[in-house]
């Protein structure tokens, strides 16, 4: 028996999406207009699509450099975070009955309550002295800082995987490393996907860490570039919006392709 579709709620939700689409519509619209058109009603469509704004924005902000920086950072952080954080969590999860590992668990997890500004000032000095005020340093810090949240969710998940699965491998004389990579890591796939998505969104969109850590403008990531060029954009909204749109576009495209998978995995992470 199929119940009748609830059209009232459907309509309300569709009307609600206007609020989501409105700022995006405005962004696309302004990005395609000329400065002269800005005096006319802002919601009206452009007289003709001015793609020159995008070419100007690309040149002015050195877009492809920033895009490649953002991509390198996000990609490396996601891959290395999933590989390392899951391994650390595995060792902790399988030894939670021991004081030492239980202590480690609480050590990592309690760090979630430390607001970034308190470590920011000393950290920036420390990374500058160590020559880590670049993309490598940024990647490294993301991977280390993510531990606190990831240990929390990975350990919960690993505990639900029966130890019996490993015992057979132990009997065969497999090392803990081999067991992790051959038995446990594949079983973690759903959680790895969740962690990968959340990490990717964070690393791609984060502004504060690049702002304080990076010193060379060549290293700037996409959000940081928008900030750096803000003052020059202030006179030309069309150029600014073309640049914003370019910066948002890669993530929107990924989302359009993989939204089902992304939402599914974020949801799974929440239930666990």
């Amino acid at each position: 028996m199929r119940k009748k579709k609830n059209w009232l709620v459907t309509s309300l939700l569709i009307i609600g999406t206007l609020l989501i689409f409105f700022p995006l519509y405005l962004t696309i619209n302004i990005a395609l207009k000329t400065p002269e058109e800005m005096a006319k009603p802002l919601l009206s469509l452009p007289d003709e699509w001015r793609f020159q704004n995008f070419l100007d924005a690309i040149e002015m902000t050195n877009f492809f450099q920033a895009l490649s920086n953002s991509f390198i950072v996000t990609f490396s952080v996601v891959v290395l975070t999933v590989l390392t954080n899951s391994l650390v969590s595995y060792a902790i999860a399988r030894n939670m009955h021991k004081k030492f590992y239980k202590g480690l668990f609480y050590y990592f997890v309690s760090a979630m309550f430390v607001p970034f500004p308190i470590i920011m000032l000393p950290l920036v000095r420390q990374t500058a002295i160590a020559g880590m005020d670049n993309l490598i340093g940024l990647i490294f810090l993301y991977i280390v800082f993510q531990l606190s949240f990831n240990v929390f969710i990975y350990v919960g998940y690993i505990k639900s995987i029966p130890v019996a699965l490993e015992e057979a491998a132990v009997m065969d004389g497999a090392s803990s490393w081999k067991i992790f990579w051959k038995v446990i890591f594949p079983l973690l796939s759903p959680m790895n996907a969740t962690v990968a998505i959340l990490t990717a969104l964070y690393a791609w969109n984060d502004f504060m860490l690049p702002l304080v850590i990076l010193t060379d403008p060549e290293d700037a990531t996409l959000p940081l570039v928008q900030y750096i060029f803000q003052s020059e954009f202030s006179t030309n909204y069309n150029l600014a919006f073309a640049s914003y749109l370019l910066a948002l576009l890669p993530m929107i495209i990924v989302y359009l392709i993989a939204q089902k998978w992304i939402i599914g995995n974020v949801t799974r992470g929440a239930v666990k």
């Binding site: 390392t84 000393p122 803990s176 504060m208 909204y237 948002l248 799974r268």
Partner: protein, 287 residues
Amino acid sequence: MKSRQRAFLLMTIPAVILFFIFHTFPLLQGILYSFTNWRGYGDWDFIGLSNYVNVFKDMRALNAYGFTFQFAIVSTVLVNIFSLLIALGLNANIKFQKTLRAVYFLPNILSILIVGFIFQFIFTIFLPQFSDALGIQALATNILGSPDHAWVGVVIMAVWQATAFNTILYLAGLQTVPEDVYEAAAIDGASPWKRFWKITFPLIAPFFTINMVLALKTFLMVFDHIIALTGGGPGYATESISVLIYRGGFEGGQFGYQSANAVIYFIVIVVLSIIQLRFLQNREVQQ
């Protein structure tokens, strides 16, 4: 067995050392500097608790705390109301469910900073022009330019962006509620209102707890929103604690002083999170 134990140690020790060097050690330094008059360069002396005493006398700091709390509390409440309503809607028997869900999650994937720049334009250019054209004078001023109302602009933008993530968490919670519970209630003739408060809400209470705690914590740390929308202005009207620590610490030569401010901020966040968890978890148990 010994080699297994050694392997487990090798898996964790490097991570612990790195975490200590790049997280705990800066934290300890921050606490140490909070008792000094260090400007970020040059000589420094221990000055005891002076920095802490001064934070409580500093109008700019008190104002930052006032603004941050006001912003965080209002935004947390609004985000939770909207996201719960949207999640209930998305969980209903609706048409285009997958598409609608994808649209409502969209703001979460966008950079807060860039969304902030777009809203800055909406508030300063679009809304005044739009309301002028319609002849609504009340809305024709730029809300971000008003010291009394600029915070509302920050709340609107923050809620627009953050509702998406909490909606997904609530939706995940709602999907754990078995269908037959509702059917039983419907047969008993319970009204939808009663069904929500007596059945749905208690069952998703853990999700309510986590959403409230997460949202409050995120909003207390507000930074990107402020940089993009108001830069802390007009005056210091919308300067958040994070922004103040960043400005004072890096640009104002107040390394020691802002470290003390950061320690207070840290304590505030820990205390609030614990109170919130206790309070909300007690509710869960009672229901």
